[in-house]
Symmetry: C2
């Protein structure tokens, strides 16, 4: 058996593949879907008459706020459109909280230590923000329907140093988990020892369905408001995986108090966002129906790639004890779960065979997966013809890692 696996792997290696599957990057054909974005602009005037070429409008164009409001189910007044990346908005929320404190609170830097709950496996760039800016991370297990709420409730009730929690509520990176409505209700209602606790609600994959079942989840802002915690959640979204990954527009949605707070602090950093890019996006993306149609285009490119990975994994790993993987209904990733201690070795073997994967442990705080058992698979960037081969190479690498 070991001999057969080793030979199979060696034969695969001879192909001299060179594939980067380390990040959830859209493929060029996905970016092509939005080339109309660059069409000529009929005018530079926003609906309110603002010349988009000039300074101003730190909260974003009225029509851009209206578009995100419609997409997120939030009144436009509770939406700010800014930056080309929601990650930057998340980062800056944490910076302002650290240096200035959230509404009614004191600066987090004066309340050291500051901790965040991190459902795992999770998004490495969330964890990087915490690590870089001095926020302690506490892992909590993420199941198929959200974080372990018994544990979350116990922790936040007992520890006032816990100031926030990362959440990717839909098609979570990397497992594809979708928060159940009951989980969202508990997150909204749970008593927290810290009065200045925040849910960092990264709604990155809201429109990014892979199957026919277009999952909708509970509205966290409404749930928080209903629970008497209106300022608890801050929602982030962007068009990074709708239009163009490097040049989209991003939004933050929150309570009026949080929006006023953000506007004040972000207004110190900038005289206004790139409104030309907002104008371009609004004229191209128009409304939720147009966005949904565009997302169908993405789905038609992405779903076959996910299917190819599922098929290869089923074929090659279906009968391997201790190996499993997720079958997400949306998003950009599959979480391949290996027996303890095999992820690093698998990733190294895949690398030798020409397939670059996300580093082992990336989905965990401080880059350390305590069981060394999670591999994030990002099927989006390679072409459809490459992806089955890549999945095969990963499966072979895992089998060899387990056999030797």
């Amino acid at each position: 058996m070991t001999q057969a696996v080793a030979e199979h792997y060696q034969a695969f290696k001879q192909r001299g593949l060179k594939l980067d599957m380390s990040r959830g990057k859209p493929a060029p054909e996905q970016l092509d879907l939005s080339d109309a974005l660059m069409g000529p602009l009929a005018s530079y005037a926003a609906d309110d008459g603002t010349d988009c070429r000039n300074y101003g409008l730190g909260v974003g164009l009225p029509e851009a706020r209206a578009l995100f409001g419609a997409l997120l189910g939030v009144p436009p007044a509770q939406v700010v459109v800014d930056s080309s990346a929601s990650l930057s908005l998340m980062h800056d929320v944490i910076v302002y909280a650290l240096l200035n404190g959230v509404p009614g609170g004191t600066p987090w830097v004066t309340q050291q230590p500051v901790s965040f709950l991190c459902p795992v496996p999770g998004y490495d760039r969330h964890f990087s923000i915490c690590e870089a800016r001095g926020i302690k991370m506490i892992s909590v297990p993420l199941g198929e329907d959200g974080p372990d709420m018994d544990l979350v409730e116990r922790l936040v009730a007992a520890d006032a140093s816990i100031k926030g929690m990362w959440c990717v509520p839909k098609y979570s990176n990397p497992s594809g988990a979708v928060y159940a409505d009951a989980v969202i209700a508990r997150l909204a209602q749970m008593p927290t020892a810290a009065p200045d606790f925040r849910l960092m609600w990264d709604d990155a994959y809201r429109f990014h369905h892979l199957g026919d079942n277009k999952t909708e989840i509970a509205d966290v802002l409404a749930a928080c408001a209903a629970a008497g915690n209106p300022d608890r959640a801050i929602v982030f979204a962007s068009t990074s995986k709708v239009s163009w990954a490097g040049s989209g527009i991003a939004a933050l949605a929150a309570s009026p108090a949080n929006i006023a707070w953000w506007t004040k602090h972000a207004g110190v950093r900038s005289i206004g966002p790139d409104k030309i890019n907002q104008l371009r996006h609004v004229r191209y993306l128009k409304d939720p129906a147009t966005v949904a149609a565009l997302m169908e285009g993405h789905r038609s490119l992405l779903a076959p790639k996910f299917d190819a990975v599922q098929q290869q994994f089923a074929e090659l790993l279906g009968d391997v004890p201790g190996v499993s993987w997720t079958r997400p209904a949306g998003g950009y990733f599959i979480d391949l779960v290996t027996p303890p201690g095999a992820a690093k070795r698998t990733i190294a073997l895949a690398k030798e065979a020409g397939i670059t994967l996300t580093p082992a442990g990336a989905a965990y705080p401080y880059g350390v997966d305590p069981e060394d058992s999670h591999i994030r698979i990002a099927p989006s960037y390679p072409s459809l013809s490459e992806i089955a081969l890549a999945a095969q190479g990963i499966a072979l690498s895992l089998k060899l890692a387990l056999a030797t």
Copy 2:
């Protein structure tokens, strides 16, 4: 006399003017100069093959770094191109210094209090960053050839809490001051009690000449390197007043150590800047000669407006004791200096007459001009036909303020 002034002012007020001169905003005709920026892009590939529509390249496009390198006289490797506004880069440098410390240093938040020297009159948005992020401001007088260096040297040598200094070295906002080469040499060489001291070098008006004499000043990065303080200065620039104020591209130039530091910390905030906007700008702005030609276009629109203000002020205020104003060779502002105690009242009277000016005190830390004697005049936005009238209204308001 008083009666005549009052009548003149009342007659002016009857015109029902409505002009906003509060900010240094480019006029629409200036923005029109760059409408070619929106022309179709022949391709989305950068020189190094990067698909500008996708994630990546946190340091900016190679050709954008090369362009700013050529414009700033710095090797491209010492340039990062990011964001649409240099103000945001300045803000983030301070945030990273506060939370993480500059290279070799400890976080500024752990070294409270932190102070900055602020040459006055200066740029209100610099001061807002300090105020908002908890940095104490110490005013130092700004003369025609730069800050009072005897005082600056004495302060930074004695006080380790002084971690930085704001500098607008050329055509300073609002006085138009230009730092002499000897001043720049002293800033580069001066011993500082703080080992982690930084010059925040806002080269906002580097290409923004109003006269035929295109002032060139000493290279602060070279001066700092020669003085054995290579990491002291961080230079900021943008195309905000070259192409479009709201949608330009911005750059940071500094020592290799500072660039590595910035890249590490900014890499946590973003997966890369809007490279489409960078590509668009590089293909439009091309090289220093093309930028210089474009700036001639700006000059031909701006210089007559400045001339009109100068003419009105000379005519109406030339013989008023204690009143003076600057005659900048570049930049966006004129500093109108009144006898002590007259600025606020003048601005209120101008407002009544339909002319909105920058609030009194804006050019000073905490918004307080201790002598209440500086009025920032921003001639760029009103049309040429309006600007003489506006200057007349301001002069009449000042005369009335002094007479009553």
